[in-house]
Structure formats: C-alpha cells, structure tokens
Amino acid sequence: MPVNAIEMIDITKIFPGVVANDRVRFEVLDGEIHALLGENGAGKSTLMSILFGLYESDSGTIKIRGKEVRIRSPNDATNLKIGMVHQHFKLVHNFTVTENIILGLEPRKGSGNVDLAGAEKRVAELSARYGLAVDPRDKIENITVGMQQRVEILKILYRDADILIFDEPTAVLTPQEIDELLEILRRLRSEGKTIVLITHKLREIKEVADRCTVLRRGKYIGTVQVANATESELAEMMVGRTVSFRIDKKPCQPGELVLKIDNLTVIGSKGVPSVRGLSLDVRAGEVVGVAGVDGNGQSELIAAIAGLLPVKSGTIYLKDKNVTSSKIRDRIQAGIGLVPEDRHKHGLVLDFRLDENLILKSFRKSPYSNRWGFLDFDATARHAEDLIAQFDIRAGSGPATPAKSMSGGNQQKAVIAREIDLSPDLLVVAQPTRGLDVGAIEYIHRRIIEERDKGRAVLLVSFELDEILNLCDRIAAVSKGSVVGVLTAEEADERKIGAMMAGVGAQRAGEQNNEEGGAHVR
C-alpha cells in the first residue's frame, strides 16, 4: 500500500469574519500529481499556505510521510522537503538564474567566497535531469515568464524538495508554455516527486492529475480519481450545481466604426514603449477581444484609450472624433466606458457607500447635483436602488452599503452597472471576471453580450483565453505591444491564438497549427 506523502486532517483556519478552511482533509499519495480544485475563495491557497508554513492552522493535524509535524514557517517546510512555486515569482531581476537559486544557501569555497561555478554546475545538472532547459547564467530580466517559473521550480529542487506545490502555475503562461509546464510536471512525477497543483482550470486537471480534491467555501467536498470523472462532474463538485460554460449568443451584426486605433505607441511605466504601433478597430454591435499574456501592453492600451496615459504617437478615434489627446472626463462624456482591471484600485472608492460609487462618474450631472453644486442624496439613493434591482447587486444595507463590505462579485457588478448605466458607445472591459465565482462570471458575461446586442461596441481585454473565445466576435492577439493578427470567432481556436500570443503572425499560426496537429500525439 502506498504511503501518504501528505495527510492534513480536520484543518480549520479562521480569519476575522471568514472560516477559510472548515475541518478540511487533504491526502496526497507519494509520487502522484494531485490537483486541488476550487473557486476563488474556496480556501485552496489558505490550505496550501498552512502546509507551507505561511499560516498556522487553528486546529487539525498535519502528517508528512506518516509522521505528525508542526510547520510554523517556510523554513520548517523546506526542512520537510516541501517546496512551493508561488503565483507571483520571488526572483531578483538583475541576478542570474544561479544567483537566484542559491540565494540564502550560498555554497562556500575553502576561501570563503561563494562557489558560483560549482552551483552553476549543479543547476545545469538539475535542469537537464528534469528537462527544464534553463541556462544557469541567464539574467532573470532577460528570460520569459515561463522560464522564470522554471527557475522557481529549480529553486525548490535545489533545496531537495520532493513535495512540490504549484499555486495556479498556468495563470501567467501562454497555451504553449502551459503544455510545456504540464510536460515538466509529468517528468517530475516520473522522477518520483509528489506534486500538488492548485488550480481552477479543469482541462489541466484532466490532462495531468491522478487524483483531485475539491474544496467549496472552505469545506472539503471530496477526492476523486481524475480518470473516472468528467470535466462537468468536476465543475459541479466545485460550484455545487450544474453550470454551462458556453453562452448562447446571436450572430453579431457589426455596425458603424466606433473605435479606431491607428499606429498607437504608448510609453509604459519603465520608460520604454509598451504599446508599439498598435492598430485596432471595434464596430458597433461586436465584441472585440484582446488576447495576450499579461504584460504585453494591454494595460497601457486601455490606459491610453481612457486617457490615463499620454499617447506618444498614433491616433485614437471615437466615431468621427479624434480623442487622442482629450482629457479623461471629456472621453467619458464622448462615450467611453471602462471597467478597469483592478476594481479595488481603480474601479471603486471602497470607503464610499455603494450609491456614491454608482455616481462616481456622473455626480456632476442632474439629478445627482444641482446647478449650485449641491448634491442630491435622494436622487443618488434612488439611482442606486434602480441599479441594484436591475443588475442584481447584493448589498446588505442597500444604497448605504459601504463598498468595501460587499463581495467581489457584487463589487464588480456595481462597477459594470455604473459603466453600462452611462450607456457609452464604447465599453472597454478589462479582466471583468478575475477572482469571481462561477455564478457572477455567468451573469457578467451575459451582460456584456446584452450590451453588444444593444449595438454598443465592446473591447474586451482578458488573460483568460476561454473567456475571450466564449465572448468575442473578433479576436486580436497581442504580443510585445502590437497586434500580431486578428481572427474572427469562427477562425479562432486556442492553438492559433496561442501561437499568435507567442508572437507568430496569423498566417504562420495556421500553418504551425497544422504541423503540430499532425505531430502532436496524445
């Protein structure tokens, strides 16, 4: 009988106001890939943070390889040969791969100097053994995100870990990189490592995992053999009801040109162009998606459209109006609505009430304030009640609810309600469903399609390829700040867009897809 590598029994962790883990059990066999599945806020990360020593559980026992242990810090975890690849990498950018890996554990030579050459040799060996193809001498800032992730993997392998926890490892990768990562996971398993994969992506689980444990709202739901479960069964366990991932939509009927971006260049925060010669147009009545890996100029593109970042060169037309250098407020008036990427930082004033947030863009207008500059609280509250009913926003004390006390999904609904209520000609939506539960995602997707059907132009920026494929009528893949190619919904599939996101043009992507389709044996 195989030994349990990890056994977590009756783990309870309480944060103020939330029971993040409620008597959760989690058992991982030695040498398997075990997926930990759940929606955002289901308690996956909390459970793994307890295992890695970032939090201590309030009650429950942990056994590693059959022995009961207390893990009070990541150092304890490392000593127990547990390693974690975090979602956000913890690397020093101007250090080399090897320097990053040995940081805090530098091997010394007899003279007392760091034995860099020896370390490099060991890193190269590890890299070769697990097929990671990392050059120990590369600087972190010069390698891709996918490579950086491998450095993180090497970092824990270097520390002799044989239980590896991956926290949403595919969130930052292109589809091709995801395939490569899954291959690496299989390789690690064949070398005898035990792997925990935290994720909410069902397909990845089906592809690599042996077993899967599902959490929902902090509670243990069950553990299944992945081979015996279908994706929709897993989804049902995760959400607690049947869900449809496809949305029904009518064929799109594109109208007049609403947004025309021509040869746009925008300087990003690092002082170098983040958007380079980007051209794109969106018509009334269609959803155009911008697909790309995070950090390929999407944020700067949105900022430039909204007027938050100055444009270095190129033009932005809204209908017939050149808005390239208009003020933010004038663009809002001209008909640009924006659901920003980060609702807490940019979308809402969390310390404001819900009704105040709902008039954040319209408080200057009647009826919310009169011509003497005084606010009308009654009109504001009535407006909020309207939108609450219309958009099904759940807010404990109605219009007076503080925005910060609302759930993420309802906060996002509030932002979307505010933007749609302004009935803009162009609705720019960035990452509209990040961190939301399935119910809220379904609702928001439906609302976006409704806006399209009303004849609005929608520009959707998302890192979730599924979302893009689901919602968009046309898809523009971006890489390094420019559009690599535009595909219609019918032409597009994950492989083609994936290749384009990696920088291969639309034409080539098609060819490559064919080649790979033949060569790829599953």
Partner: protein, 375 residues
C-alpha cells in the same frame, strides 16, 4: 452562562469601539482623563482640583468660593477658536488625502496679512476688519495653494513643502512687520479700532472677556466645512480623491486641481485663525518672537475630531478647555503640565486603535476555536 454573556458583552463593546470612529474619540478622551487623574493622585495632589478647574472653565463657576464669572467661558472660547480653525485646516486636507503640516505657516501668513490691512486699510467701520479678514483668507489660500501646485505639478511632498514654508512664513513675517514705521522688535503701533474684531455684545455677555466676532467666523467656518465636504460636488470629488486617488482619476475627476483647491481652502482656514488672533486678541501688530503653536495643535485637534466638521469643533473646544484650565489648575497647586500630558495621551490612544482592532481579531479567533472544540 453568565460567563458567556459577559464575553459577548465585552465583544460587543470592543466591536463598537473599533467600528465607530466617534465613539473611539469619546472613549479615548475619557481614558486620557482617567490616566491624567491617576497621575495627579500619584504626585500627591487632589485630582478634584483638576476637575474643579475644568468646571470653572466650562461653566464659569468657581466651586471653591461659590462665585460665578462668565469671563472664564469667554476666554475658553477665545482659546478654542484658532484651535478649531487650525483643526479644520488639517482636517480639510486630510479628507483629500493630504497631510497639511503647514497650518502654522498659513496661520502666520494670515496673521501678517491681517495686521498689514489693519494698519494700512481704510479705517471705515466693519469694512476695515472685513478687508483684513479677506486679505488673510487670500494670503492663506495662496500659501496653501503653492503647496498644492508643487504637489500636483511636480510631485513635491506636501509634508516637506509645508514644513519649509512654515519657516519662510515665520521669518518673512518678522522681517516685513519690522519694516513698518514705528515698529520695534516686538510690536507695531496700535491698530485703528475699526480694524478690531471686538464685540461689545459678546464682551458684555462674558463679563469683559476677550471673546470677539471671530466666534461667528469660526462657526461659519465649521458650517462651511460641513456643507462643502459633505454636500457639494467639490466635496464629493475631494473626498473621492482622498479615499482613492486612482479611482477618482479613472472617474474623470481632476485630481491635480483637486489637490490645489483643497490645499488653498485648507490654508484659508488656518489663515483665518491667524486673522482672528491678530484682530481679536491683540490691539497692535506683533513681530512674532516664536510660533504660536496653534497650527501644530490643529493636527491633534483634527485627529481626535476624525477630520469631520463637528468632531473637529468639539475636539477644538476640548483642547481649548485644557489649555485655558492651565492657570486655574496651577492656582490649585496642580502642575499645569498635566493638561499637556492628557492631550498627548489622547493622541496616543487614538493611534492605538489599530492595536485594539488586532486584539479583537485575536479574540474572535479564540472564541471560534473554543466553539469548535466544544462541539
């Protein structure tokens, strides 16, 4: 059973304490007095003396001799007025997310401007002092506005800029005031009486105290603050900027002009304090020998008042009370420093709120754990 309910009561109190800002301030003030009382007892004096001094400030009653004199109430209000105004100055900036540490400088600028108009303005009744006050408001708005522009245009930290401008204001005031013919190293000639804020009515009410028409200006200022911050478009955009600058910018609010406007209004509040002191408490222009300190006390006033209009007014009255109780306490053989200690403690306790919140979270967890174990 009783232990359980006492726990929940305790939790309720803690919960209230951390959720209501106004209540925190009240509790904190009580705590401050409690510790102050203990300190008085520890140094071997009668704490009752402290409270009898405070009673005298608040009501005019001298409990020791059973005499009533309304002058004490008037003096209390006189001291409170600049504290409230400087508190409003700090609070207005704070609501916009700015830390205006320059109320002292803005106060000096206002005081100086008022003094100049008092000496050189047309000696027409009412118009004279109105002009002096307007000049002070303008000077303060400019002085604060400079900081706002520096911050908005060049990202200069308002903390650094205001501290520096405090010195510029102080030494410029001395220099310019000494240039006035007839001025010596500490004073100018007397103002014409038309420039003074003296109010015979208020004086007769308070038995000849220095209470003056500045009282109405202060009251108006509190009302202005309350209306502008809470019920106008300007206030809405400033509050949004203060609570989340980025979200305000995304919503099309002009954050930079907001910062400048807020600093200008903030400066005007402090400058009004300067004008009221110059024209209400003195009959001549002063060559400042040191900083009056109202500006810095305003920071504490706003902190205790939670940067709200009426909270700041109340906390200004509290600080004014403690300040004007000092001489009365001394006559009761109680060290006057006790009042400064109480003021300090109040500020420290306010800052401890974060700590209390942590305690509350820890307790909640303990309770939850116990609840699970007993299940």
């Amino acid at each position: 059973m009783s232990a359980r309910s006492s726990v929940s009561l305790q939790d309720r109190i803690l919960d209230k304490f951390t959720s209501s800002d106004a209540l925190v301030s009240v509790v904190v003030v009580i705590l401050g007095f409690l510790v102050g009382t203990i300190l008085v007892a520890v140094v071997g004096r009668d704490p009752g003396g402290m409270y009898s001094a405070i009673t005298q400030v608040l009501t005019g009653w001298d409990l020791r001799r059973g005499v009533w004199n309304a002058r004490y109430i008037g003096e209390w209000l006189v001291v409170s007025m600049p504290l409230i105004l400087c508190g409003l100055s700090m609070a207005f900036a704070a609501r916009t997310g700015l830390f205006n540490i320059g109320a002292e400088g803005q106060y000096i600028v206002g005081l100086t401007a008022a003094q100049f108009v008092a000496l050189y303005g047309p000696p027409i009744p009412v118009l004279h002092w109105v002009l002096a006050v307007l000049a002070a408001l303008l000077a303060g708005a400019v002085w604060g506005g400079i900081v706002g522009i520096l911050k908005a245009k060049y990202s200069v930290s308002e903390v650094v800029a205001t501290i520096m401008l405090n010195y510029v204001a102080f030494f410029s005031s001395r220099f310019l005031t000494m240039l006035i013919p007839g001025a010596n190293t500490y004073r100018t000639p007397n103002f014409p009486t038309t420039a003074l804020l003296d109010s015979p009515f208020l004086q007769s009410l308070t038995n000849g105290s220095r209470l003056n028409d500045g009282l109405w200006l202060t009251l108006l200022s509190v009302l202005f603050f309350w209306v502008v911050i809470g019920r106008t478009r300007l206030g809405f955009s400033l509050r949004a900027t203060g609570l989340n600058k980025e979200a305000a910018r995304y919503a099309g609010i002009n954050v930079n002009s907001g910062i400048t406007t807020a600093m200008a209004i903030s400066g005007a509040f402090a400058a009004l304090a300067g004008a009221i002191v110059a024209l209400g408490a003195f009959t001549y222009g002063r060559v400042l020998g040191g900083q009056d300190g109202y500006g810095f006390n305003g920071i504490a006033v706003a902190l205790v008042g939670n940067s709200t209009a009426w909270g700041t007014a109340l906390s200004g009255l509290l600080f004014g009370m403690l300040t004007s109780a000092q001489p009365l306490m001394q006559s009761r053989q109680i060290p006057k420093e006790i009042t400064s200690i109480i003021m300090g403690l109040v500020v420290v306790f306010i800052s401890l709120r974060g700590g209390v919140r942590m305690l509350l979270e820890w307790r909640m967890k303990e309770l939850a754990r116990k609840g699970r174990v007993s299940e």
